[in-house]
């Protein structure tokens, strides 16, 4: 069993939980093209999670498959950041979250392309192309909304402020990431911060918006299984059917 399994669980949980939230937009998006686009991004992230879980089950010695991870873990065993578990807000909230998350993912997957774990490097190679598209998509919308109408500018700015407390957590170097970085499998989250902030800042400036100051409060604990209120309800929905029919295959 590999000591960096916990690090990979964090990576996989981030994208699975965000895929679950993004998929909620289907039938709820502002236009049909966007139902499709957000569904597409959800599919990409879901695919990344599905590629990682069985690998984690192999290296941690449990032999767990994707659905063991997705459907059979309690809240305390999930290692995703709070950013991705927050409830769906308005479209500006989603674009603010997608902009930051995708910019983070571009830096992350770029670095993971050099992972000493061949599976991780392989997943990252494919993921990088996807998350670059996600970043483009979010950037396009942030610029349109920031530089659109008065209302959309106000909403987009408010969304940047609401998402702000959830960002620091992406860049915390927890124990698992230090282990993974030492082994050359992973990357220190803190090392990604400057690239992400620079990327987002460019978009925000083009959108005639401004990056908010740091808030007094910030989220923490996701990587240690300490989640925010929405997580339990997300899991109830995600797992209810699977949990209701123990041992069934689908």
């Amino acid at each position: 069993t590999q000591p960096y399994a916990a690090y990979l669980v964090g990576l996989a949980d981030d994208v699975l939980v965000y895929a679950q939230r993004l998929a909620e937009w289907m039938t709820n998006a502002p236009q049909i093209e966007e139902d499709m686009a957000l569904g597409n991004i959800a599919l990409d992230l879901l695919g990344q999670a599905r590629a990682l879980y069985p690998h984690i089950g192999a290296i941690d010695g449990t032999g767990r498959g994707e659905d063991d991870f997705a459907m059979q873990r309690g809240e305390r065993d999930w290692r995703n950041v709070h950013l991705v578990e927050q409830e769906r807000g308005d479209f500006a909230d989603e674009m603010a979250r997608l902009l930051w998350f995708s910019a983070y993912q571009v830096q992350l997957q770029t670095a993971l392309g050099r992972s000493t774990d061949a599976v991780v490097a392989g997943v990252a190679g494919k993921a990088l192309k996807e998350v670059r598209y996600h970043l483009d998509h979010a950037s396009l919308w942030v610029v349109r909304l920031g530089d659109g109408t008065e209302e959309s500018h106000r909403r987009m700015q408010a969304a940047l402020e609401r998402v702000q407390p959830y960002l620091a957590e992406l860049f915390d170097d927890d124990e698992a990431s230090v282990v993974a970085a030492d082994l050359g499998v992973g990357v220190l989250p803190s090392s990604l911060r400057d690239g992400v902030v620079e990327q987002v800042s460019r978009v925000v400036m083009q959108a005639t918006l401004s990056l908010p100051e740091s808030s007094k409060w910030r989220s923490r604990g996701g990587r240690a299984g300490i989640h925010s209120r929405p997580m339990g309800y997300l899991l109830a929905e995600l797992q209810h059917i699977a949990r209701s029919y123990p041992g069934a295959t689908w």
Partner: protein, 320 residues
């Protein structure tokens, strides 16, 4: 007149009518109504299955379901585009959907109560849709026919996925088998009603079928398509191990077809008039999404207009 003659000649020669061709106003109106209703059905049809995306029982099924709902959105878009070639725009058609002037397929007013319903929709509803749509690939109106070719290819993929959901359930636990059977029990009759009311024999009078056939929009009667559907599905049900909920269903050697029972047309008309389980919910959901998104669409338009005028003003920002 010249319009009538050219059009009649193209129809007679089984040639495609294209947007640039002159066409009778009634033909245009019939097509707009039909294509729009078809597009609306794809868009509203995202909701019953969309209801299961967050609760799909495995990640694999979740991925397949997201892709399917995405395909439905895509079909809606092709179809709105086809309708737009007839001189209406999508925003106007969506308004007509939202305020009830245009309809969508009544099948989507039935609820999806269990995971097995995602299987039954794929197997039965998409199955019936394909039966209806394959002949439309030869529809006289070119853009509609071409959209249908693309749609049908994906629908038959969806139908196989639905079959496979039920197949897996029928080979699962007793609860899973019961779930699959229950879904088939609830979706079978509404699927048969999807082909529309009887339009042969006595019932042929007064409906749209005759005119639509003459125009090459419709190729088979509702009743013929329904029969073909029943004939196709009975062996598939046998393969699944599902008992179709019709005691009168049996092979008729003489006709070379399956006989089947009477559809509850009272229910059909009630649901069509707006009193089905989900009529209120489907339109309310669609309207809410549309209204919640109004500020986003306005912003996109404002941004595009700003940029267009910038380009005009400076003549050099189009590459930005």
């Amino acid at each position: 007149d010249a319009v009538g003659e050219d059009f009649d000649a193209l129809i007679a020669a089984d040639q495609r009518i294209e947007p640039r061709d002159a066409m009778p106003e009634k033909y245009r109106e019939t097509l707009i109504r039909q294509i729009a209703q078809h597009a609306h059905s794809e868009i509203i049809g995202m909701q019953p299955e969309g209801n299961w995306i967050t609760r799909a029982p495995s990640l694999r099924r979740k991925a397949i379901l997201i892709a399917k709902v995405q395909d439905e959105a895509g079909h809606g878009l092709y179809l709105y585009s086809a309708a737009e070639t007839l001189g209406v725009d999508r925003a106007e058609l969506l308004d007509r959907l939202h305020d009830g002037r245009q309809k969508y397929s009544s099948i989507f007013n039935y609820p999806t109560l269990t995971w097995a319903d995602c299987g039954a929709i794929g197997w039965l509803v998409d199955g019936a849709a394909i039966m209806n749509q394959v002949p439309l690939c030869r529809c006289s109106y070119g853009p509609y026919a071409r959209a249908m070719i693309r749609v049908c290819k994906e629908e038959s993929f969806h139908q196989r996925q639905g079959f496979e959901i039920l197949w897996t359930l029928m080979r699962g636990t007793p609860e899973q088998q019961a779930m699959a059977q229950d879904a088939a029990d609830r979706w079978w009759w509404p699927a048969l009603a999807m082909f529309g009311p009887p339009d042969t024999g006595e019932a042929a009078k007064g409906g749209h079928t005759e005119q639509s056939m003459a125009w090459g929009i419709k190729r088979f009667s509702n009743d013929d398509l329904r029969q073909k559907f029943v004939d196709m599905m009975v062996p598939q049900a046998d393969k699944l191990g599902i008992v179709l909920p019709d005691p009168e269903l049996r092979w008729n050697e003489e006709r070379g077809h399956y006989d089947f029972g009477e559809i509850d047309w009272d229910e059909f008309w009630r649901v069509l008039r707006g009193d089905g389980a989900c009529n209120a919910e489907r339109i309310a959901h669609r309207r809410r999404a549309h209204e919640d998104g109004a500020w986003v669409r306005e912003a996109a338009n404002a941004y595009a207009a700003k940029h267009a005028s910038t380009v005009t003003a400076t003549g050099r920002e189009s590459a930005a």
